[in-house]
């Protein structure tokens, strides 16, 4: 059955059109990622463009992340309080919240917001450059568009999103503190101390590692979808949309794997 695959020109489908296209997509995505690693370490390096993109991405999502982080902190605290009260364990609240936010929520919330905000805008930007021949225009002026557009953006998301995630965790704890403070008098310093009391180096490390992976995913998926946009303006919308859907899906997938692996390490 697999021998069919050798004959590329036969224009027959191995399984069915849909399934074949799916595997073709996976393979192309893999090649795109591989190309990133090949080109990222070869000069010339566009440092200034990386820094521009970092600012662009950071500033674009800062307000949204601050608000969301703060609200997540408040809501999570409000929701957790009653169940802890049943056991008379409200003093564990800061440490519970610390674990939840640092281990999981900070990185995940940031990644999902950036997938929506940054991923879609990268997909749309590169997509519209593709369908209006701007990417080809770069190529014919002897500028490598993959390096100039893709490598810089992927590096920028990989750097910026972990920073945003740390910031988000910090703000979420602040939001949580406002709620804790409203119920019982505790100082901010004491709260942070309690919150971090049960957090190990592994927690922080795996959280930062996770957001690096998420940042890379958002960048590479957005660029891949934009770079391969087709069919005029419709393709631009589709590229933006698919960038968000695919990167969110991959983020959850990666979350499961990383949590599983870090739990193994923890119990080792």
């Amino acid at each position: 059955m697999f021998q069919n695959r050798i004959n590329v020109n036969s224009r027959k489908y191995l399984f069915s059109k849909g399934v074949d296209h799916y595997f073709e997509g996976v393979y192309k995505g893999y090649q795109f990622t591989l190309r990133f690693f090949k080109e990222a370490f070869k000069p010339p390096f566009h440092f200034r463009e990386v820094i521009n993109q970092c600012f662009e991405i950071g500033l674009k999502s800062l307000l949204l992340i601050t608000l969301t982080g703060f609200i997540v902190g408040i809501v999570f605290t409000k929701q957790s309080r009653p169940s802890l009260e049943n056991f008379g364990a409200t003093s564990w609240l800061p440490s519970l919240i610390g674990i939840a936010i640092v281990r999981a929520l900070g990185a995940l919330v940031t990644a999902l917001i950036c997938a929506g905000k940054v991923g879609s805008s990268i997909g749309a930007e590169l997509g519209s450059m593709k369908v209006t021949e701007q990417i080809e225009a770069m190529e014919v002026s002897a500028i490598n568009p993959f390096k100039y557009l893709v490598v810089t953006r992927v590096i920028a998301t990989t750097i910026t999103i972990p920073v945003l995630a740390l910031f988000c965790s910090f703000v979420a704890l602040l939001g949580s503190y406002t709620n804790v403070h409203a119920e019982e008098a505790s100082s901010l310093l004491m709260f942070y101390k309690n919150a971090f009391s049960n957090i190990s180096f592994l927690d922080v490390f795996s959280s930062v590692f996770k957001s690096i992976v998420y940042g890379f995913t958002i960048g590479i998926v957005g660029c891949y979808k934009g770079f391969n946009a087709t069919q005029g303006t419709r393709g631009v919308g589709r590229a933006a949309n698919e960038a968000v859907v695919l990167s969110m899906f991959l983020i959850f997938f990666e979350e499961v794997i990383i949590v599983q692996v870090s739990n193994w390490i923890r119990h080792f």
Binding site: R11, E125, S128, M129, T132, E133, Q134, E136, A137, E139, V140, S141, A142, I143, Y148
Partner: protein
């Protein structure tokens, strides 16, 4: 060529683009089937053909944006298909490509659009040198005052001209124009035609001009090539091609209005 009152010389001994037995297809669609063409130094050649006949595909193959399935494409002595990386880039710097859609970078101003290919390819330029080069290129296309505008604020004809200026800034030896006058009114088209001739004289370029605008072909070109059903049916001076007996060519011309 004598009937065209131009001052520059065409060197018939030097071929800058040579295409032999070129084939190209996309999936089930055969676009180019045995295309042959030579372009001489200093010469403007128009490629005529109806929409979808593969004209854009042809010049994209010349700059190596698309790869031929079969055949030989030699540009400035190099076989394009065999080049990659640095060598291909070096060749591309000698070719100017004006896109059908202008393809201006819409996140950049007109100045940045022109400065970008220059600063990315020529290292250690001072700001002054870049300014001078940009001003010179803008002046060549007659839009010296548009330097600070964004592409979105320009008209179609102005965008085309900025697109041409962006390629001129690298001083190309060959210009490839993809439908330079499509979608423009006759007056603006005439300005673009004049610009194409001016570029030929001023920079001594050889050009391939893709068009289905006969006025453009007649006024800018030394020779005309008719692309029909994926191959050149006839190549010659405008009059030769226009006065042919061939039915398909006459069909093409009968639908077009000539000024």
């Amino acid at each position: 060529m004598e009937n065209l009152q131009r001052t520059h010389t065409i060197d018939k001994d030097e071929t800058v683009i040579s295409i032999k037995g070129l084939y190209k297809s996309f999936d089930e669609l055969d676009v180019l089937k045995n295309v042959n063409l030579d372009v001489f130094k200093g010469e403007n050649v128009a490629v005529l053909g109806k929409s979808g006949s593969g004209k854009s595909v042809l010049i994209k193959i010349i700059v190596g944006l698309l790869r031929p399935d079969k055949g030989e494409v030699i540009v400035l002595g190099k076989e394009v298909d065999k080049l990659a990386g640095k060598e291909l880039d070096d060749l591309r710097l000698r070719i100017g490509f004006s896109f059908q859609s202008s393809a201006l970078y819409d996140s950049m101003s007109v100045y940045q659009n022109l400065a970008f290919p220059l600063t990315m390819n020529v290292k250690h330029l001072t700001k002054k040198q870049v300014d001078v080069a940009v001003a010179e290129a803008l002046e060549a296309v007659g839009l010296a005052n548009k330097s600070n505008e964004m592409p979105a604020d320009l008209s179609g004809g102005q965008r085309k001209r900025i697109g041409i200026a962006r390629t001129l800034i690298l001083k190309p030896e060959i210009m490839l124009y993809d439908e330079p006058t499509s979608g423009l009114d006759p007056t603006t088209s005439a300005e673009i035609n004049a610009l194409i001739n001016e570029v030929q004289e001023r920079y001594n370029t050889s050009s391939v001009i893709i068009t289905h605008d006969l006025t453009c072909a007649k006024n800018t070109c030394n020779r005309v090539a008719m692309l029909i059903e994926g191959a050149f049916l006839k190549v010659g001076t405008f009059e030769e091609v226009f006065n042919t007996e061939d039915e398909q060519i006459n069909n093409f011309f009968s639908y077009n209005f000539i000024q």
